[in-house]
């Protein structure tokens, strides 16, 4: 494995990576695995760290009755082979990546659980395989993926293309679902760590300590499985498993206003050794100079090398720590990468990303409402198209005729629209649009909806919390300000190689907007019981008095010994020695 680190002037980025190294020949199969981690400190004082672990398996999973696993986890391998999976992408996320303030994410995921899968053309019943797959994954990752059913599954036509090798892109083999309500915690992290060949016992994964990772502003863990070319000639296929984990720590508030950080401060661990199975293991720290003020930052210990690349349109410099380089552990037994600011930094702003978006619910009352999406293109002179995917649950009834797209005060006609209306209790709304974003513009997309009434058994627990509407997805090829060089995918760090870049002038970005929380008219669920109690009490009281009336026997009362006054008088008379009345 290898590891590299880079620092930006304000945003610092630390990447730990194990990239592919020389493979070991083993029974005619060459297997390699790679790990990478990335840390980005953000201007607000946040530090983002991204781990990427890649396991490459030079074998055809789909063929052969007997399967023998070495580094690739058996549980996932069996799944891919048994259900005819071509590509699998699962992300479990807690929190929301604030693109506007944190910049373009290396790998964003929507809040909650996201699963999208391409199946092999040989799969006859895709829906059945999809159901089975989500059930099994929910068992493997201890997540409620078993709640994925027809009512939250869509078949996008344009937004999700295969990321690996693919012969055709017949979108009927694709399924996409998001569960925005899913809460991610330790029980999801443990099975994820167990898929790593070295577990959390050695290598970069020792830093993955649940109590630190979940004490953060954003946590996202993902699994990507896809077929890739074995070598440059692409005559044979390999399977790639990429496990990524992104976490954002808030250091400004917890570190007395200082933006310095170290591995130990973040993870309360340091790196002591490498995973002996890794062919590359590197830490990258983002040390890109901003405003030519390189001297502002200081990383220690000295990096083994420096790597420069254009990542998502920005020129970046990374300090690289190669954990497989024995000299790294010569001086001290453990590696604790530290970053210090030479003088206190005032609020220098992070550059606003070229593409970012916002979404919210408008309207008032419990009958109708409006979903508004704002998409920003901050590029000074280039326009570019973006694909917007909206999935809205059936209980929000969209009125498509109210769809308006307004850019700079004028109506913007999308060049492609795919709309699939919902069916009650059967499938959600799917709206996909290709929208041209003019340079330096804000595009506002609004659509009105009506809230449906649910049956009383269809409300989830705590219905007054509201109903989630999953994030909408923006996919775009964003024109780059700086020209990019073509890189050999196998040699470049992992964080640059998941999404293919078409050419040097633009880069692929996928963004997710905020999930929405919508209130539906909610009945008072205790009402039936209250009604029963009240009516029963009334009936019982009526019954009681009626019963009393019928069963009571009346006697003629003999005159008693007299009232209280008379008895009192008698007592007094007794004291006085006078005969009573």
């Amino acid at each position: 494995g290898g590891m590299a680190a880079a620092l930006l002037p304000l945003p610092l980025l630390l990447l730990l990576a194990a990239g592919p190294g020389p493979g070991r020949a083993d029974a005619g199969q060459e297997r390699r695995d790679a790990l990478r981690e990335e840390l980005t400190p953000l201007p607000t004082g946040d530090v983002a760290a991204t781990f990427q672990f890649r396991t490459r398996w030079d074998a055809d999973l789909q063929r052969g009755a007997v399967s023998h696993y070495r580094l690739f986890p058996k549980a996932l391998g069996r799944l891919v082979a048994a259900l005819g999976v071509r590509e699998l992408h699962l992300a479990l996320t807690q929190g929301f990546w604030r693109t506007r303030y944190w910049g373009q994410p290396p790998l964003q995921a929507p809040a909650g659980a996201e699963l999208w899968v391409w199946f092999q053309p040989t799969v006859t019943d895709v829906d059945k395989a999809w159901k089975e797959l989500s059930n099994i994954l929910s068992g493997i990752f201890c997540a409620s993926l078993n709640f994925i059913d027809l009512t939250n599954t869509v078949i996008p036509t344009a937004s999700f293309k295969p990321l690996g090798l693919a012969n055709g892109t017949d979108h009927h083999l694709l399924r996409y679902a998001v569960l925005p309500r899913e809460v991610v915690c330790t029980e999801n992290l443990t099975p994820w760590k167990k898929l790593l060949p070295c577990g959390s016992k050695a290598g970069l994964a020792v830093l993955l300590k649940a109590e630190r990772l979940f004490h953060s502003s954003y946590h996202s863990q993902a699994v990507h499985i896809r077929p890739i070319c074995r070598d440059a000639s692409c005559l044979a296929m390999s399977w790639e498993l990429r496990q990524t984990l992104t976490v954002v720590f808030d250091f400004f508030s917890s570190g007395q206003g200082k933006k310095d950080w170290s591995l130990f401060k973040m993870f309360s661990r340091t790196l002591t050794d490498t995973c002996p199975l890794a062919s590359q293991s590197k830490v990258y720290v983002d040390i890109s100079p901003k405003n030519k003020e390189k001297e502002l930052l200081e990383v220690s210990p000295a990096p083994t090398s420096v790597y420069e690349a254009v990542v998502q349109g920005d020129k970046k410099t990374y300090a690289v720590y190669d954990l497989l380089n024995p000299s790294l552990f010569n001086t001290s037994r453990s590696l604790n990468v530290q970053l210090k600011w030479k003088r206190p930094q005032d609020s220098s702003e992070m550059p606003i990303p070229t593409l970012h978006a916002q979404r919210y619910v408008g309207g008032y009352g419990l009958q109708t409402g409006e979903i508004c999406t704002l998409i920003y293109n901050t590029h000074p002179y280039r326009a570019f198209p973006v694909i917007l995917l909206e999935t809205v649950p059936w209980y929000l009834r969209l009125y498509v005729h109210t769809l308006t797209i307004i850019t700079k005060g004028k109506e913007n006609k999308p060049s492609y629209i795919h709309y699939q209306p919902a069916q009650d209790r059967r499938r959600p709304h799917l709206l996909e649009m290709l929208i041209q974003l003019p340079a330096n513009s804000v595009t506002k997309i609004t659509i009105q909806f009506e809230r449906a009434l649910l049956k009383w058994t269809e409300y989830p627990p705590d219905p007054n919390h509201g109903f989630y509407v999953g994030s909408s997805v923006l996919s775009a090829l964003v024109p780059s300000v700086t020209a990019m060089k073509d890189m050999d995918v196998e040699q470049s760090p992992l964080f640059t190689s998941l999404f293919p870049s078409s050419d040097g002038s633009s880069y692929f970005v996928r963004l997710y907007t905020e999930p929405l929380l919508v209130n539906l008219p909610t009945p008072d669920f205790s009402m039936p019981y209250n009604v029963i109690c009240l009516t029963c009490t009334v009936v019982a009281v009526c019954y009681g008095s009626f019963y009393n009336l019928l069963t009571r026997t009346f006697h003629v009362e003999e005159p008693s010994r007299g009232g209280l006054a008379k008895r009192l008088a008698n007592v007094i008379r007794k004291f006085r020695g006078v005969p009573p009345l």
């Binding site: 083993d26 029974a27 009755a65 007997v66 399967s67 023998h68 696993y69 070495r70 580094l71 986890p73 058996k74 549980a75 069996r78 799944l79 048994a82 259900l83 099994i136 068992g139 493997i140 167990k194 060949p197 070295c198 577990g199 016992k201 050695a202 050794d273 002996p276 199975l277 019981y529 029963i532 109690c533 029963c536 009490t537 009936v539 019982a540 009281v541 019954y543 009681g544 019963y547 009393n548 069963t551």
Partner: protein, 495 residues
């Protein structure tokens, strides 16, 4: 009532016919055996024996030099239906059988038996042979172990795997110390060479799938004890139960199928804990350095030879000797399927099954036990289903569930009939179908009893009605009681 019928042919070669035959050859005879499982359940077995003398071809075959050659030559002349047995009685002085051996069991469904003087003695010997080759009382009881009262079951009976439609076999190589050892094993070749022939033979019984994995940093749950004398580490027998749990968490569940998993683990101990030996209850080292866990699988410890030069660079490359490992794992596999060859009387000689790994009669042995077990499982499943229906009166039985139940009952009946006709294979197939149908019916999601509103909760909802209504009734009852008492005391007060 289940009746197991074993069709048998007893062939007398010239000079081996006992003197006290009741009738001249050929004739038929039936022997019975009663196997009682518990107070209410018992299984009867019938051995339908047909006695005859050899044909010319058989005589020629029996003239072979060794028992193995005779067995091979006799095979084409036999009835090869599953469950049937052919036993050749050879003269007492025959040189076919080695000295001191009275019974030779071949690779297929036949045995050679040395003649004894009287028919009664011969029949006693034949009974032993049939029990080895088809089923014993204990193997049937083990198959019905669910119905045996707890204390009465021998530990061996609990070892056998439950009958299932399929099994998953997983070979795992545990390397807790990848820094010091790079372990390579040619599992693919070993599976093809050693395991596949056995599983091909067993494919009649169930579906098998085989896979393997390598797990790193997987450690046993017990720290071994260091023994100064032998300068080695020891795992004592009583600590073995604690070994498996932490490893099992790493093995990964078989998420993609519902079949039971058989785990075979090869453990290469860490450098700081090697060599590692397993001790038996008496403290002696176990020769195979392996142990098995009932209904779960087996673990073998594979010690890495310490290199001669201590400066040898780490990691050490280790190539696993798969023949040695697979020998142990296959023996454990046989043990888990109840095919152990250890309980055979000493005067028996069993032909080694050779490449196939399993003799035909051993397969029959498995089929007998599994058929009986399947029938018992189906009857248990259907009984529980019936109990559930009795408990919840308003449960809805859908048509497809009903048809599965009918199918299960029909299949299990046909299995029982076929057993009593001696058609083992057909009976086994029918019992498998019965299991499938009954499980499908029992696990139908519509039969979840939580779907039905329990009566006590209905009552709880109406408590606000019942309670206030009960108050005046109870009060007036109390009043009546009080008045009657008063009435008795002072009868004179009434007019």
């Amino acid at each position: 009532q289940v009746q197991l019928v074993v069709p048998m042919v007893v062939v007398f070669s010239p000079g081996s016919v006992p003197g006290d035959l009741p009738r001249p050859l050929p004739f038929r005879d039936v022997q019975e055996m009663e196997i009682s499982v518990n107070l209410r359940t018992s299984v009867t077995s019938h051995y339908e024996m047909r006695y005859r003398s050899t044909t010319g071809q058989e005589e020629a075959a029996l003239a072979a030099a060794t028992a193995r050659e005779a067995d091979a030559a006799l095979h084409p002349l036999q009835d090869t239906t599953m469950g049937s047995l052919t036993i050749y009685v050879v003269p007492e002085t025959s040189s076919l059988l080695p000295q001191g051996i009275t019974v030779y069991v071949g690779k297929h469904r036949s045995a050679l038996v040395r003649a004894v003087g009287s028919l009664a003695a011969l029949q006693a010997r034949l009974r032993e042979v049939t029990q080895v080759m088809s089923f014993t009382a204990s193997s049937i009881v083990a198959a019905l172990s669910d119905r045996v009262p707890n204390g009465e079951l021998s530990p061996d009976a609990r070892r056998n795997l439950k009958s299932s439609l399929g099994y998953e076999i997983t070979f795992s190589l545990l390397n807790p110390d990848p820094k010091s050892h790079t372990v390579d094993w040619d599992i693919e070749g070993a599976v093809n060479r050693y395991v596949k022939p056995v599983l091909d033979k067993l494919s009649l019984v169930a579906n098998f799938s085989v896979d393997s994995q390598i797990l790193y940093y997987a450690v046993l749950g017990v720290t071994p004890r260091y023994d100064k004398e032998s300068s080695s580490f020891l795992l004592s027998a009583h600590s073995l139960p604690h070994v498996i749990n932490p490893v099992e968490a790493r093995l990964g569940s078989s998420a993609a199928s519902l079949y039971p998993v058989l785990n075979f683990l090869l453990y290469v101990p860490e450098r700081s804990h090697s060599p590692l030996y397993i001790q038996d209850k008496d403290g002696a080292p176990v020769s195979t350095n392996a142990f098995h866990s009932p209904r779960w699988g087996g673990i073998m410890v594979y010690n890495v030879e310490v290199p001669a030069s201590p400066q040898a660079s780490l990691p050490l490359h280790v190539d696993v000797d798969m023949a040695r490992v697979m020998e142990v794992f296959l023996a454990q596999l046989r043990l888990l399927f109840g095919l152990s060859r250890e309980e055979v009387p000493p005067e028996f000689l069993l032909e080694s099954p050779g490449n196939e790994g399993l003799a035909d009669w051993e397969l029959d042995h498995l089929l007998w036990a599994h058929t009986v077990e399947n029938i018992a499982t189906v009857s248990t499943t259907l009984t529980s289903l019936a109990q559930l229906l009795d408990k919840i009166g308003n449960i809805v039985i859908k048509d497809d569930v009903a048809s599965e139940v009918y199918r299960a009952v029909a299949s299990v009946q046909s299995a029982v009939t076929k057993l009593s006709l001696g058609h083992l294979h057909a009976a086994f197939q029918a019992s498998k179908e019965a299991v499938t149908s009954s499980e499908k019916a029992f696990f139908d999601p519509s039969l979840l009893h939580l779907l039905y509103f329990p009566d006590d909760q209905k009552f709880a909802i109406y408590i606000p009605l019942f309670l206030p209504m009960a108050v005046p009734i109870l009060l007036s009852l109390a009043k009546i009681v009080r008045e009657t008492r008063l009435h008795k005391k002072e009868p004179t007060k009434m007019d």
